[in-house]
């Protein structure tokens, strides 16, 4: 009896989580523009999606910025994590606390703070400002995924390598990086998905003509909704599902704490 109640409870929560998504996917095949009516099965919204210039541009910027930001922040984050790990505890904690700020701060504050920075520095809002903003909020997550792996390292192995005459750079390349690789990959994937998904910070740091999918969806949702969004969201769901299956093979995901 108790078991049945818990199963029913979980089923209800999953229903709550999946109902809206199911609706989106089903309506992406609906041949009627009105959301209430079912006008038959169609692929036309998907075809329209590929003809839509705005969406294609937004997709281009979303993916380009996500890849660039993820690659740059993974490199910078990994290198910085190694540096931070080798600092004295007091300094390490000081830097980590600052590193936590973009994670703790509400997105709207981060977005506005960066917007003010760019405008005060006379940087035109657009592609580069959005990229810089994404790198800024990605790096902390990379550091937080790499650092625990560094802490798990066996120092004896590193010291053995150095004793045997390996240069610090060679040790880094052959001993340290291979051992912390899972953390680096997790960091990269988190950075990538955060970038792909970001709305608020991009919204404030972007300028004329440069939008990403989230911004596009926001403006479409406000000005009346075209079923092409449904098609777009179904496609994105498939992509996310694919990414998630990869990430699920890794073990930990740092959370906002």
């Amino acid at each position: 009896m108790k078991n049945k109640i818990s199963k029913l409870y979980l089923a209800l929560v999953f229903l709550f989580l999946y109902a809206p998504i199911t609706v989106l996917v089903v309506y992406s095949f609906n041949d009627s523009k009105s959301r209430g009516n079912w006008g038959g099965f169609t692929f036309k919204w998907y075809l329209e999606l590929f003809k839509d210039r705005d969406i294609k541009t937004a997709l281009y910027y979303t993916v380009t910025i996500a890849i660039l930001a993820a690659v740059i922040s993974t490199i910078v984050g990994t290198v910085s994590a190694i540096g931070i790990y080798n600092m004295k505890t007091s300094r390490m904690n000081f830097l980590l606390n600052i590193n936590y700020l973009p994670i703790i701060n509400p997105d709207i504050v981060t977005g506005i703070a960066l917007m003010i920075l760019f405008l005060s520095a006379n940087i035109k809002l657009g592609f580069s400002s959005m990229l810089l903003a994404h790198i800024t909020f990605d790096i902390p997550y990379v550091i937080l995924s790499v650092l625990p792996k560094l802490k798990q390292l066996d120092n004896n192995i590193t010291e053995a390598a150095l004793d045997l005459g390996a240069t610090p750079f060679y040790t880094l390349k052959k001993i340290i990086i291979p051992q912390i690789k899972p953390g680096i990959i997790t960091g990269f994937l988190i950075a990538f998905t955060l970038s792909i998904d970001d709305f608020v910070i991009s919204f404030f740091t972007t300028g004329s003509g440069v939008t990403n999918l989230s911004i596009e969806i926001y403006s479409m949702a406000r000005r009346g909704i075209s079923p092409t969004i449904n098609a777009l969201s179904s496609l994105m769901l498939v992509v996310v599902l694919g990414l998630l299956l990869i990430i699920n093979k890794r073990t930990t995901i740092p959370t906002k704490e």
């Binding site: 818990s6 979980l10 929560v13 989580l17 809206p20 998504i21 609706v23 989106l24 959301r35 209430g36 009516n37 910078v76 984050g77 290198v79 910085s80 190694i82 540096g83 790990y85 080798n86 600092m87 830097l95 600052i98 700020l101 973009p102 701060n105 509400p106 997105d107 709207i108 504050v109 981060t110 506005i112 703070a113 917007m115 003010i116 920075l117 005060s120 800024t136 995924s145 625990p148 150095l162 610090p168 998904d197 709305f199 608020v200 926001y218 949702a221 909704i225 969004i229 969201s233 994105m236 769901l237 996310v240 599902l241 990414l243 998630l244 995901i253 740092p254 959370t255 906002k256 704490e257």
Partner: protein, 279 residues
Amino acid sequence: MNSKSRYLAYPYSIWMLVFILFPLFLIFLYSITLRNPNDIKTITFTFENFGKFFDPIYVNVLIRSISIAALSTGICLIVGYPVAYLLTRAKDKHKGLMILLFILPMWMNMLLRTYAWMTILGNTGLINSFLNLLNLPNVNLLYNNKAVILGMVYNFLPFMVFPIYTALNKMDRSLIEAADDLGADGFTIFKRVIFPLSLPGVISGIVMVFMPAVSTFVIPRLLGGGKNVLIGNLIEKLFLVTRDWNFGAALSMIILIIIFISIKILNILKIDKESGVSI
């Protein structure tokens, strides 16, 4: 490792100074200054921006934001705690799949998830079409506070479930068995053993839900319509429409202060910083 490798952190230290600390300082600077409209170069230091906030209109927006966010956080806790508990009790072979199913919606674009509710709740949406089919009158489900709370719970529920799940998962099972052997009933075990041990998870869950809930402007904009403004909407408007940066900065400072105070209060019950969600 070589002690020199600490220098590797120096470039990022400068980056943090420029892109994290300095922008926050700029917000602070804008919040305590006013620009002279006749002469752009002179700025005056003032608390006027914060004073402006004490207009009942703005205070009410803040109170509404805090109470809606708190209510959503409470609902997330009540709904999410049993979910986290049941996830830890699931059989190992189902566990991975169930957690995957739970994460999946979270990794879907937040705007899409919110927009999906517009599809369901709207005037021509799913529920109303169904009611029309039964010849029942339309109900107004969208563009009110309830819709905003629903959107928040929907979007932020996983943020509550995962920290609690992690805390419960780390718990030593033998403690429950010991309590059981010593004659404690189910409720006592929960009250005296399980809940206290999961408290760190509950606290980070509360922070992780309350923080985005109190500052969001997307959910109230899409589900609350134009009328049900929260503080996030106000800030967005001040920066992008009215261009009153000084007042907007003051409101941002107020949001930051509220969040840091709530984190400090909750931190009295210490949170382990390095713990992540294990899957």
